[in-house]
């Protein structure tokens, strides 16, 4: 009897300690999650204190500059310009990418004729074109949109092509058995099947459009966050440069969040509410 009691006692003790171990680990995790950003800011602050604001402005100064930049309203033209360039480039690149992707997956001749050019376009460093585009189109939006679109183009060609050509063989056979025409098979089978692949192309394209627009602004622009960075470099205003970095980062996060939202809505509409990988595939970072 006593042995039994001891055993039970030992068991509960052991379980108890496991539970406390688990919860203490969880607490530690939460603690680290909360503390790490402050730690990061603290280190930034300490390094900034040891150097001049020209090299590294303190996080507090950057924050105050950011706030005043928003309050006096001078941020908006830059923010609007860059956002417009990103979105216009993204849409243009996506439309062309999906179009060409469909074309090369549908027609062997089109694939043989067009594919080499697409690959050449991809191999060419697009940013190298920026100065020429400025000569051709001036300092306005056009060169930035073109660069952003060129960069966004390829992931969509590739993902559309991949999505349309990986339709499972049994499903294609079903459509053959149902005597479906080629266009019906494309519309009712291959395109719906390609939607998730096309969407992961959208995500990459969106992030690349941001990079494209900003870098194109470096080359020659009057407005935009990239132009702001170049101006702050010229005036040695590191603080303003950091303000631009922060805004660009938040802009990128917002665009990605927006993408995730649209993706979730579309996938729920397509596959119903039970699909599990909606959240997991939106958290996959592909840039």
């Amino acid at each position: 009897m006593t042995i039994e009691i001891n055993q039970i006692d030992g068991d509960t003790k052991e379980k108890g300690s496991i539970i406390t171990n688990l919860s203490s680990q969880k607490l530690l995790g939460q603690f680290l999650v909360l503390v790490t950003p402050f730690l990061f800011l603290l280190i930034w602050h300490l390094i900034a204190a040891g150097t001049t604001p020209l090299i590294l402005p303190s996080p507090y100064d950057v924050f105050m500059r950011l706030v005043s930049y928003f309050i006096n309203g001078r941020v908006w033209p830059h923010l609007f310009m860059t956002t417009q360039e990103i979105l216009a480039g993204f849409v243009l690149g996506s439309v062309l990418g999906i179009g060409f992707g469909t074309l090369v997956s549908e027609s062997d001749i089109a694939r043989k004729v067009i594919m080499p050019y697409i690959i050449v376009t991809q191999a060419l460093p697009k940013f190298a074109l920026a100065p020429m585009l400025v000569i051709w189109f001036g300092f306005g939006m056009a060169p930035k949109v073109i660069i952003a679109a060129l960069i966004a183009f390829f992931p969509l060609v590739e993902n559309t092509y991949m999505g349309l050509t990986t339709t499972p063989q049994p499903q294609l056979e079903l459509f053959r058995a149902l005597r479906a025409s080629r266009i019906t098979t494309l519309l009712k089978l291959r395109i719906p099947h390609a939607v998730p692949a096309i969407f992961s192309g959208f995500r990459v394209a969106l992030m690349l459009s941001l990079v494209g627009a900003v870098v194109a602004e470096y080359v020659g622009a009057n407005q935009g966050l990239g132009a702001l960075i170049i101006v702050s470099q010229g005036t040695l205003d590191t603080e303003l440069m950091f303000v631009a970095f922060v805004i660009l980062t938040v802009l990128g996060l917002c665009l990605d969040w927006l993408y995730g939202l649209v993706y979730k809505i579309v996938l729920v509409k397509l596959y119903g509410k039970t699909i599990d990988d909606v959240s997991s595939s939106t958290t996959r970072l592909s840039v």
């Binding site: 149902l178 019906t184 719906p192 397509l270």
Partner: protein
């Protein structure tokens, strides 16, 4: 005059659901050279007959079914469905594949509607037919579910519904219940016979399960491998309805089973 046209209609009625396989061969090109998958297959299936193709894997039973279905064409010889030579999938055929092959982005109902949608805009009558078929297979409550939410057996029932919805005169089934567990498979077999009796279709059913073949069919076509040939055809004379217990323990079935076993080994 009316008498003549009557005979023609009667003949057409009689032919509907008939399959004539006239000495077909099928060879495939592969790295190892030319492979003869089917060698001189002769087979006649009468309307509303339930016939099973049995054989070990690689004996060409699926290839034969795909030829009948018009998914591939034989190298030599012809196949006629209801008197017409097969050159492409015949409109009177419903095909049930090894996997359910449902489109995951469509609900159960939309999946069953697919054969009509492929032809054009589905009419109200066709939409009504979909709910009718789902009623028959007992899936009415799941009409708005996605395939991903269903069990394997239910998915295969959706696939059978999709094949039945166009009221085909011939149903081709390629090991449709092979992936299901034994109990579900027996349930599906019982259900299939019930549907067969109502729908009055010809069924050609591929399986490698002897018990399943004996339970279901009027005739069992035994195929041997390399090259694929019809080895023997066994008439299952036992009256319906049959039970699985009967198929396993009845001496008459035991004899047929023995005959099939010997032929396959």
């Amino acid at each position: 005059m009316s008498g003549v046209s009557n005979t023609i209609t009667n003949k057409e009625k009689f032919d509907r659901g008939q399959i004539e396989v006239d000495y077909i061969t099928k060879s495939f090109d592969s790295d190892a050279g030319n492979i003869l998958a089917l060698d001189g297959i002769n087979l006649e299936v009468v309307p509303q007959e339930f016939i099973t193709l049995v054989g070990r894997s690689g004996c060409g039973k699926s290839t034969l079914l795909r030829c009948i279905g018009g998914l591939i064409s034989p190298s030599t010889g012809t196949i006629k469905i209801s008197g017409q030579v097969v050159t492409e999938p015949h409109p009177q055929i419903g095909y049930v594949f090894q996997q359910a092959v449902l489109l995951p982005w469509r609900t159960v109902e939309e999946n069953v509607l697919l054969p009509f949608e492929v032809k054009g805009n589905p009419t109200d009558k066709e939409k009504h037919k979909v709910s009718e078929v789902l009623e028959i297979v007992g899936l009415s409550d799941y009409a708005n579910h996605r395939p991903g939410e269903l069990s394997g057996g239910m998915q295969q029932r959706v696939s059978v519904s999709r094949a039945l919805v166009t009221e085909p005169s011939i149903l081709l089934m390629d090991e449709p219940f092979g992936a299901l567990d034994a109990q579900t498979r027996e349930d599906m077999n019982i259900e299939l016979l019930r549907i067969w009796e109502v729908a009055k279709t010809t069924i050609v059913f591929v399986t490698h399960d002897i018990g399943e073949a004996l339970f279901l069919s009027d005739r069992v076509v035994l195929m041997s491998a390399r090259p694929g040939k019809v080895h023997d055809i066994i008439e299952v004379n036992s009256p319906r309805p049959r039970t699985f217990d009967q198929v396993e323990n009845d001496p008459a079935f035991w004899k047929m089973r023995q005959r099939i076993r010997e032929a396959l080994h």
